[in-house]
């Protein structure tokens, strides 16, 4: 067993390393090296040419023009020290930007994903239980209909309707001005208030497909002999629906749950742009636009790590929650 964990951990680390390397290489491929980007940015800010040249020269100490392998080596060593460099755009270290932004993104994405699955599981199970009824028909159609809306289209729609037209919900920022982070009721409610629409747009557009998946799983499990036998054994409906049907129908969705969190982190680029919600997605977009290499690489890496981590957790924990999965490769999440 130790063997498997070691192997799986080694593979996660290897994947991470490869992705770090790949990310590094890929971002270097971007048109316009960091310096030309910086020049462009300064120009846009109205700096006179001479001044720009001198700024650029000083940036050269940061050696973005050093040989790639040296940059790579520096990057890796710095990363190992938790140093992701300093942003070109913002007067801060990348680590501090991420440290400040990431909790918000994670808050939105994890909450949304949890709600998606909570809704999907209950709704899907109900549909399966009432298979063939009107409720099932209407619900299935509705979930298909909802899944055909991209979350950002829904988000824009909600912004127009609830944000601008009726002005009942905030459509931007993480908090109201004046509210400072802290363990206060005001902070928590305000944070939820502001995260409401982003979460709702993810949930509404994402829950339908998952509910359909749950419905399919449940219908399959409902047809299993052991459910019939459990009824014959006189077990209560509650016990059967939770431990016999629910558990076995939810199991295949478990991996999907963890990977969806990672996937949604990537999707935050669009969502946070629409809601001007300065999380990692927002900063990634800014970094991309400004060719802010350190920022881009840092965020890219964080999102990748989140994905690798969630797949890793999914792999390792799946064996724990599904006793059938025991050995080696078959315990993998996919």
């Amino acid at each position: 067993m130790a063997n498997y964990y070691v192997k799986r951990t080694a593979r996660a680390l290897l994947t991470l390393w490869l992705v770090v390397t790949l990310t590094f290489g890929m971002i270097r491929l971007l048109p316009g090296g960091p310096l030309t980007q910086l020049r462009g940015k300064l120009i846009r800010q109205g700096y006179p040419p001479q001044q720009i040249n001198s700024i650029i020269e000083t940036y050269q100490n940061l050696q973005p023009d050093a040989p790639l392998y040296a940059q790579y080596f520096d990057y890796i060593t710095a990363l190992l020290h938790g140093d992701m460099g300093k942003s070109f755009t913002y007067p801060r270290t990348v680590a501090s930007i991420i440290g400040e932004a990431l909790p918000w993104t994670i808050f939105v994405m994890v909450t949304a994903t949890i709600i998606i699955f909570a809704i999907a599981i209950v709704w899907g199970a109900l549909m399966a239980y009432k298979e063939g009824t009107r409720f099932d028909m209407v619900s299935s159609s509705l979930s298909i209909l909802l899944s055909s809306i991209p979350f950002y289209v829904l988000a824009i729609g909600l912004v127009v309707l609830l944000g601008y037209k009726f002005q009942v919900l905030p459509v931007r920022y993480r908090l109201s001005p004046g509210v400072e982070p802290g363990f206060t009721l005001q902070f928590v409610t305000d944070a939820l208030y502001h995260a409401f629409l982003p979460i709702v747009s993810l949930v509404i557009s994402g829950a339908g497909l998952q509910a359909l998946a749950m419905r399919g799983n449940s219908i399959q499990v409902l047809g299993e002999d052991y459910v019939r036998v459990a009824r014959l054994r006189g077990l209560s409906d509650r016990r059967i629906s939770v431990w016999y049907v629910g558990r076995n129908a939810v199991l295949p969705m478990y991996t999907g749950f963890l990977t969806l969190i990672g996937f949604n982190l990537g999707g935050s680029v669009i969502l946070e742009q629409i809601f001007t919600y300065p999380g990692v997605g927002y900063y990634l977009f800014q970094g991309l636009q400004n060719r802010d290499y350190p920022l881009m690489m840092g965020i890219f890496l964080v999102i990748t790590t989140a994905l690798v981590l969630s797949v890793y957790i999914a792999d390792l924990s799946y064996g724990r929650i599904d006793p059938r999965v025991q050995s080696g490769d078959s315990s993998e999440a996919y």
Binding site: K165, G262, L288, Y334
Partner: protein, 346 residues
Amino acid sequence: MKRTDDSNAVADGGSRVEEFSFETTTSDVEVTWKERLGDFYTEFVYKPGLVAWDDRRTRIGGIILTVYILIGTVGAWFYPEPISNQVPRNLAPFQDWSAPLGSTQSGVDVLAMAIHATPSMLIMIATGGIFATAIALVIGTVAGYSGGTVDAVLTSFSDIAMTIPGLPLIMVLAVVFRPDNPVLIGILITVNYWAGLGRSIRSQVLTLREASYVEASRTMGVSTPRILFKDIIPNLMPFVLVNFANAARYVVFTSVGLYYLGILPTSVPNWGIQLNNAYKQAGALVGTSALYQLVVPMVMIMGIALSLILLAQGLDRVFNPRVRTRLAGESSSLEESDENTEVMSQ
């Protein structure tokens, strides 16, 4: 021990020990290419169509998709291209038949924009879907079927591809390659979408290759490619089809999102550009006067996504021989009895 030549060993005595010859039948069997073409038509067009039509989901999905294809071909052919100042500026919808769905602030017909965004979107969908499923199919089947080092290498490759966050990766690549060719965009968007698909295909192939009928083919000395094409892939088809539709939907969502963010070049008309235009320039969010500019592309996006989801829900039936024979009205009486034997045989 050698088998005795004693004819008593056979229950019925010697009478049955006749030389069996293949030429005993009198039926003249001839197969012309016309018949083959006909067979092909029934197998790959008529019957799948029949199955698809039978299911409400695929029927509606198919109809919607057909409408889009018509818009993208005939519509785009006949309807004038969007040009600035082709109609008066800021027309509201349903006011003026020169621009039935209104016009933008630079006098572009909104409907023309919506229509002319369709062809490239359809190409994107098709290439994205084909690329994702084809790569997944190739990698999944090769890895699953060959096993060993090939499998290990391909699987690790997909693992890594899978753990790179899709959207950010695509954005970076979009900035690097600035693709304006819909074919390239379709491929770009699915650049690592195939990975998850490949993994699930691989695990299905792992099961399939142990299936008795595959073993039988192997035993007969059938070549590996032929086994893959005749025995493995047809059984993956329902799964592949469903995922084709899902990949296509992903392409729609992602490409529109990228156009909306302004990350993809604006040289090709796209609903995302329309959204962006409505959002950023027409000020469609404030007040209602420019809302139609937002609604038209939204409806276009949702319509095609809906058709793809509906297809994904029902397409797995299309290549299911049980369903198709039932619908084609071929001897159905045996099906029930068949299911019984299966129950028993487990």
